[in-house]
């Protein structure tokens, strides 16, 4: 199915958010996630099923003012 990750469309066979992050190579990286604009806490990624067309955001700490 097709999902959008950080604004880019891509094909995935991942069923859950956790599987998607593993597939994309985030591994143990310290990131936070949202699906369709709603926060998904790290402990719920395995239970969060993805659907075609979902927009996923993966963010990390960055410099800010």
């Amino acid at each position: 199915m097709t999902v959008t990750v950080n604004g880019r469309r891509l094909e995935t066979s991942a069923a859950t958010l956790e599987e998607l992050l593993t597939e994309l190579g985030y591994g143990e990286r310290k990131v936070a996630t949202a699906v369709n604009g709603d926060f998904v806490r790290a402990t719920l990624r395995g239970d969060t099923r993805l659907a075609s067309g979902d927009a996923i955001d993966v963010v990390a700490p960055m410099q800010g003012g």
Partner: protein, 262 residues
Amino acid sequence: MALTLYGETFRSRVLLGSALYPSPDILRRSIAAAGSEVVTVSLRREMAGGKESEVLLSIIREAAVRVLPNTAGCHSVKEAVTTAQMARELFDTPWIKLEVIGEEDTLAPDPFGLVEAARILTRDGFQVLPYMTEDLVVAEALLDAGCQVLMPWGAPIGSGRGLNNPYGLRTLRNHFPDVPLIVDAGIGRPSHAAEAMELGYDAILLNTAVAKAGDPVAMAGAFAKAVEAGRVAFEAQPMEPRDMASPSTPLAGLPFRLTERA
């Protein structure tokens, strides 16, 4: 007297942003030179394999500062709330510098979205530090929403114009004598920071004025001194200005004059 924000006390009254520095090492040395105990950070999309966040986190760890994540760039309540929730998980802190931007040219806060987001986040256990204008009505609404600290702008973010509305800032200070008030944004020079501190503001939050200086580390030190000087001056109760001159040197005993008149 130390600065108290949500029950935590700090000796330094300079809160420093972590963006726009020429290098990570200059950021690290600028934090040290400013003496800052609170440093703002943000969140951005990151593809797998990015290293930038690791460098920032190691600087923060090494400096042993309190992290204040922001919701910079958010234009809606939902964006700001989701960003705050992601920041709380990543940085393990209930603190959030809440920005809901309402206008692109000035980066002025959207007061309606700001108050709504502050209410949602406070209910969810956040400790909100809102980036706002100096508007008294908005200030009252934010306090009512649960904010215990207010952060009015001096001038638009990154403009370096100093205090655009000293009258408004003085009014806000006088109206809320017991609320910690931090001037956030628009500070360009140490004299601007000193002016805000002389008005009785509790602290200064700045970024660009240090990061974009020719020598950020030296400028960070200059801001530390200015903020300290302004605070001491406020506590020492500055004299009021007056319209006419008043000699500082005593006139009694002045030579060359007759001192007794008939």
